[in-house]
């Protein structure tokens, strides 16, 4: 399997504090990779490196090699705006724009000029909603405000919104932590479908979720990558004692 992302010796500083210390991790294409670890271990920071969202944080310094399809994403020739069209992101708290459902999904394609006509834009919106498994629920109220939907639906709007710009990768930062178990299950099923077309990297606090959804799991601890391997192995018989302590809830 091809590597979508190749990272080597990635180090991230927030001011003088080190957040990520020498991470080398490869993300496979059309796979779901989960990043687990206790709070403050650097998993979210690493995720945000992959679409250069760390650029928006003052005092953040990123070093090391980060390649997307063999291209350095931190090179000066690469515009973060283009990168983020290729690498989409869904956040922890569902954050649809306070506009209509249609406008939410249409925003991305509009600013990237992906639709040449109104009809084409309409098609993109409907297709994204379908791929996000939401079309049946909102088909006849596309002009309603997106903020009037339930939490789970709002998060799927955010997923549809990310899909609409036709990315290659979708990054998810604890996407289900604000949702109830049913909404969570709906999204987990959705991830399974989406992984056929996209590469997905998901940060999660729930080990059960990581075990359920991902193909590969990376365990972060205190800014370092402790173990990375097949999800099945990590959760039945991990190599590292630290990993075992974390997943079984032992004081490490």
């Amino acid at each position: 399997m091809r590597n979508k992302f190749e990272t080597e010796n990635v180090v991230v500083y927030y001011g003088t504090k080190i957040a990520i210390d020498d991470i080398s991790l490869n993300i496979e294409s059309n796979n779901i990779t989960s990043l687990i670890g206790p709070s403050g271990c650097g998993k979210s920071t690493f995720l945000r490196c992959l679409n250069r969202m760390n650029d928006t944080i003052d005092g953040c310094a990123v070093s090391g090699k980060l390649l997307l399809d063999n291209e350095d994403i931190y090179s000066d020739n690469l515009d973060p705006v283009d990168l983020r069209a290729k690498v989409g992101m869904v956040f922890q708290k569902p954050n649809p724009f306070p506009k209509s459902i249609f406008e939410n999904i249409a925003y991305g394609p509009k600013i990237h000029g992906l639709a040449k006509s109104k009809a084409e834009l309409n098609d993109i919106v409907l297709e994204s909603l379908e791929r996000a498994g939401l079309i049946d629920e909102v088909r006849d109220r596309l002009d309603d405000s997106a903020t009037g939907l339930s939490g789970g639906q709002q998060q799927r709007i955010c997923i549809a919104r990310a899909i609409a710009v036709n990315p290659e990768v979708i990054l998810m930062d604890e996407p289900c932590s604000a949702l109830d178990p049913i909404a969570t299950a709906v999204i987990e099923e959705l991830l399974d479908q989406l992984s056929k077309d996209f590469t997905i990297v998901i940060v999660t606090h729930s080990m059960a979720q990581a075990a359920r959804v991902s193909n590969k799991t990376a365990f972060f601890h205190l800014g370092k990558l402790v173990e990375f391997g097949e999800t099945q192995k990590i959760f039945t018989n991990p190599e590292e004692e630290r990993t075992q302590n974390y997943i079984t809830g032992r004081i490490g």
Binding site: M53, T56, D58, G88, F91, K93, N95, P98, V165
Partner: protein
Amino acid sequence: MNKDKRLKKRHAREKRLKFYGVASICIAIMMLITLLSSITFNGYTAMQQAYIPLKIQVSGEKLLNSSGAVDAQKALLFNWDSKVKKAFRENFPEVSSRSDKKELNRLISSNSGYDVKQFFIKNVEAFNSETLIFITASDDVDQYLKGRFNTDIPEEDRRLTDKQLKWIDGMHSEGLVKLKFNKNFFTSADSREPESSGILGAVVGSALTMFVTVLLSLPLAVMASIYLEYFAKPGKLTDFIEVNINNLAAVPSIVFGLLGLSLFLSFFGLPRSIPLVGGMVLALMTIPTVIIATRASIRAVPPSIKDAALGLGASKMQAALHHVVPLAMPGILTGTIIGTAQALGETAPLLMIGMVAFIIDVPTSFTSPSTVLPVQIFMWADSAERAFYERSSLAIMFLVAFLILINLTAIILRRKFEKKW
């Protein structure tokens, strides 16, 4: 029981606090009522004006040109004043002596001839027939009829003699002078005579000036705020800029007037007393206020919205303009309107750039000489005639009503733009 005592004390303290709050509000309301009632008391009579109905006939053959309109040159030469005075004196056939005639003439406004001319220019069909025209009485008559004329002082010190007073009383009882709605107040600009003066000029001047102010201050302030929030690198320079902006909001307004005087008038050589320059000076004054309000509103927008836009590949500017600013609009508009309302009532800086001139024409463009409402009020309140005093009170009421209207607009606009996120 200690607990009960403590609970009682807490309740008592709460009651006291509530009382203080209510008392403060009551005091404030009482002061407001006092202010408004004193202004209203002084100004409500200005809503009316003494008019004298006269029947006047003018033959048109000497004044009309071939197309049926009044020839301007001929109208200028025609003696309208004598026509009016003659018509007026027909009500007093017994008055014969020259001095008496002079005194009688003083009962009608010295502008009445001009007013009649304007009437006939507008209504050419009124020529050649006896037309009823209401001419304005003089301001002394007007004040006397409104009961504001002090008759206790000796005759030599008064503006109206006893004879004049007798004539006025007679006219009033016969219906030859009436208090009617003061149309002039709302349709004319300033004038030397109080009875012909109005606030239209000042209102239009204020409106034009405000327009320039908002047009300049709003976009500049929003852009500056976006820069400071999203693009400025944190550091000494940015801190320095921020401190200065905050301080600018507290600078006395007359300083901005001085700046306008030296920069716009002396250096750039712009004409004085025009809405364009007035608007520019007031914009300088309003921008810091709007920046502070805009920045607070932008900061109140949850960063998750900005992150969502950036995550989709929007540039910082796109994220700011498409999402953050529209959500911050209620706060921005409120700030703008408050700043504008404040500027609307400013007199000092505009005095510095010369908007104290006596302007008798209603301004027609951004570069016509004009004055603004607060300055107009200031000038009227300063003048000798009593009639100007009541008019300035009415103008104050007008200004207050206008400010209330602006604030209501602010509330309505804010409610309209408020979106839940």
